[in-house]
């Protein structure tokens, strides 16, 4: 057991996967000589050589397409988007090529697409995006977004092991702000399993990514007001672990969904719809959501701070819901 940052944990998982299997290769812009825009793959070129750590031209569709092709002939590529925001240029390759391959009898595509996502670093509209909702509607891909170093490593290993295309979203604001214990070796964390981060009996808070930490803080603050929130970290967004949610909501009868992403058409909408249809009977209160307003992510700190759900806003939502 070592203590690592979120960024170190991702690098650790990637390195171990590459050591374990020569079929794992890395491709992306500036990933080799430079070691990546966040220096996450620093040293990889030296250890694994230019045949396995490949700098590409600026071409996100080319990178993802090449990853698909390499996957189809037996490799397990890990393709990097320099920022998740640029994944929009690879949208067609992901949604129409990678995601449909198995269904259309084209073959398995064991491709991982790593994409540094999320706000909180003053990146402005094009270096701060949450992109999970763009792909959540697409059968054939999986989506993960770890909140802790241990999950960051373990989910990456599982993503690489998975025979399907997996979007591995990593939150930039957690890279160096999160430190924690990480198991050594190939410490897999299974895809498709949510994790209860804090037990509680009054309200179920469903969240993921950076908001896990804010929800935990908010839950502590709510506990001061005698409200015990259960905080569930989804970890995998596709497929969703509905069983864990259902079990919790059956106990609490109240659910608050929190994400950093905009509300409209976000992952939270589907969770709310699921609850409204299948758990209606156990509900004692409206299905509530907290998320970003309906605009791009603004640049100025005063705006960005107001854009992101704050601990206080979440705390209030928890307490209001418990008292409804």
């Amino acid at each position: 057991m070592a203590v690592m940052t979120y960024l170190e944990a991702i690098a650790d998982g990637l390195r171990l996967a590459m050591r374990a299997d020569p079929a794992v290769i890395l491709l992306g812009e500036d990933v080799a000589a430079y070691g990546g825009a966040f220096k996450l793959t620093k040293g990889f070129l030296e250890e694994f050589g230019p045949r396995r750590v490949i700098d590409t031209p600026i071409s996100e569709a080319g990178i993802v397409g090449a990853g698909i092709g390499a996957a189809l002939v037996g490799l397990r590529p890990v393709a990097e988007m320099q920022f998740a925001d640029f994944i929009s240029n690879a949208f067609n390759q992901i949604v129409n090529v990678a995601a449909t391959s198995a269904y259309r009898a084209g073959g398995c595509v064991p491709l991982v697409i790593r994409a540094p996502c999320g706000a909180g670093t003053h990146g402005g509209p094009f270096h701060s995006q949450s992109v999970e909702a763009y792909f959540f509607h697409t059968p054939g891909v999986k989506i993960v977004l770890p909140a802790t170093p241990a999950d960051a490593k373990g989910l990456l290993l599982s993503a690489i092991a998975d025979p399907n295309p997996v979007l591995y979203l990593e939150h930039k604001a957690l890279y160096r702000s999160q430190r924690g214990p990480v198991d050594e070796g190939l410490a897999f964390v299974p895809l498709g399993k949510a994790e209860v981060r804090r037990p509680g009996r009054d309200v179920t808070v469903v969240t993921y990514g950076m908001m896990v930490h804010r929800c935990l803080e908010a839950a502590e603050a709510a506990a001061q007001e005698a409200v015990q929130a259960e905080v569930i970290d989804l970890r995998t967004l596709l497929p969703l672990d509905l069983d864990t949610l259902a079990e919790s909501i059956a106990r609490t009868s109240r659910v608050l969904i929190v994400h950093e992403d905009r509300l409209r058409g976000g992952i939270g909408a589907e969770i709310a719809a699921y609850v409204g249809e299948h758990l209606f009977k156990v509900l004692d209160a409206p299905i509530c959501r907290v998320g970003a307003p309906d605009s791009p992510v603004p640049y100025a700190p005063s705006l960005e701070a107001a854009y992101l759900p704050s601990v206080d806003r979440i705390r209030r939502a928890i307490v209001d819901l418990a008292r409804w």
């Binding site: 397409g65 698909i68 189809l72 002939v73 129409n96 009898a105």
Partner: protein, 340 residues
């Protein structure tokens, strides 16, 4: 390096390098098989038996067959809507062709896909993708895979000239050039992309365009199967030797509509007539007879055998049931494969 002239522009070679009489007959057989299968599918389409749209590679047989025939036994193709012959050369059973057009459970896509949208057939035919251009980064990636593993294998990608306008084609071709990947780009320039003439898709000669990518480029008569084979052979050799990608412009003409629902009335009749006279199948037929590579009797036998194969394939497909609705939503994800 612009790469131009690395492959000298191939004209019909007097002798076909490396090809014996058997090869010539095999080439002919595949061309005939594509032609007759497509004639049949058009008939079925007119009868209303084809479920969706109907595209053929009518007049493109020399390109599909000639280029694919230049591949080695472990090489891979990426195909589109006019290159049935290439799939046949790589061993796709004709039965699948009919079953897929008819939307039957026996097709490799189990009725989930139609038309020639067949890919992922074993390790040698890459997934089919309908978005023009999208298959090129994927083909480059397969070539990258071979390069990473240092396997002497080559990827050959087929597409039309309109494809050169797309951003995805560009990113794939550029990536292949930068990484010097073992990729052979086989373009059928059939002068139209749907109704749009080539000069409205890209300005200037295609070979100049691709030479500008640093890709060795040449143009050949796309209605001459030996000329195509010859150029493809050189490109495949270059790729296998680590000299990077090549681009072959195979000049031909789409002598039918874009699909069978299109009467191509926007094409001057004279242009169609002119190219009909250069029909690649008939031309090769005559040539084989003239050079006595094929006797009239052998030709008749071959035609009969091909016809029987088409009949069998159609019958097999027709006997295959419609997919059962219980299949709905199945197969979207791959099952686990152990790792590492």
């Amino acid at each position: 390096m612009t790469g131009r002239g690395d492959i000298t522009a191939a004209t019909t070679p007097a002798v076909s390098p490396g090809l014996g009489a058997d090869d010539l007959r095999t080439l002919y057989r595949y061309m005939l098989l594509q032609r007759q299968a497509e004639d049949r599918i058009v008939k079925l389409y007119r009868q209303g038996a084809v479920v969706g749209a109907c595209f053929t590679g009518y007049g493109h047989e020399a390109i599909a067959v000639g280029a694919a025939y230049a591949l080695g036994p472990h090489d891979v193709v990426s195909t589109l809507h006019r290159d049935l012959g290439a799939r046949l050369v790589l061993g796709m059973p004709l039965r699948y062709y009919f079953a897929n057009f008819l939307g039957r459970a026996g097709s490799p896509t189990r009725g989930r896909e139609g038309n020639l949208h067949i890919g992922g057939l074993g390790p040698r035919i890459l997934l089919h993708i309908d978005h023009i251009g999208a298959s090129i980064p994927v083909a480059a990636g397969a070539a990258l895979g071979f390069a990473v593993r240092q396997e002497p294998r080559v990827v050959m990608a087929f597409f039309g000239e309109g494809t050169l306008a797309t951003g995805e084609f560009h990113e794939g071709a550029n990536l292949a050039a930068v990484l010097r990947l073992p990729l052979v780009l086989v373009c059928w320039n059939n002068q139209f992309a749907y109704s749009t003439p080539v000069e409205r898709e890209v300005v200037g000669p295609l070979v100049d365009r691709m030479a500008g990518y640093g890709i060795a480029s040449c143009a050949v008569d796309g209605n001459d199967v030996l000329a195509v084979y010859d150029a493809a052979r050189r490109a495949v050799d270059r790729a296998r030797e680590g000299q990077g990608p090549s681009f072959l412009e195979c000049r031909t003409m789409r002598i039918r509509g874009h699909s069978e629902a299109d009467d191509a009335s926007y094409v001057p009749q004279a242009l169609i007539d002119e190219w009909r006279r250069r029909d690649p199948v008939e031309r090769f037929d005559q040539r084989l007879i003239e050079t006595q590579a094929l006797t009239a009797e052998q030709a008749a036998d071959l035609r009969a055998a091909v016809l029987a194969e088409v009949d069998d394939a159609q019958a097999w497909a027709e006997a295959s049931p419609a997919p059962d609705p219980s299949e709905l939503g199945r197969g979207v994800y791959c099952e686990d494969r152990p790792w590492p």
